[in-house]
Amino acid sequence: GAGVSQSPSNKVTEKGKDVELRCDPISGHTALYWYRQSLGQGLEFLIYFQGNSAPDKSGLPSDRFSAERTGGSVSTLTIQRTQQEDSAVYLCASSLNGMSTDTQYFGPGTRLTVL
């Protein structure tokens, strides 16, 4: 079946602009995760959704970052007033039930470049 998809695959933006990154999880997966992969920080957890609610937002680096999930499916990560340090690959993952033992399936990522 279809895996996790993300769009766009690449995004170049100017400092100060807002960007939206989209994630389509595997159908039927109730849990959805956002991670960020950058050269300096490695792979970092950002936020986790169970259904449409986000019980854990602890990884969001600043209040410029927000995310929502609608219909228990698609999620959007929004970065407002982008800064150069936001440049990274943003990875989305989904899992069946959101349990610690579940396998998380990753999308190909969105590469964000802030000029």
Partner: protein, 114 residues
Amino acid sequence: AQSVTQLDSQVPVFEEAPVELRCNYSSSVSVYLFWYVQYPNQGLQLLLKYLSGSTLVKGINGFEAEFNKSQTSFHLRKPSVHISDTAEYFCAVTVNDAGNMLTFGGGTRLMVKP
């Protein structure tokens, strides 16, 4: 809080040689352990995971890993590597009582040479 250390940032190896990628973790509670592989310009793919039971876990593409609780390690091994195994490998943990996000190590780049 938990943490994961991958001791080698890069591992060069010749084709058909054996390889071991090292992973150590730190946690005050029980963890579940994962190895993911990332091929260039792709997302992460699960190689194998340890949840409980036998400490030797076999995964895809001929990889296996052994959980050692006393040494808090979960090293990844393959007896004979191929050029196609060239990729970045990430060790990760989740804990049962503090959410289920993955905490990753810094990654090990495996470079298989002909």
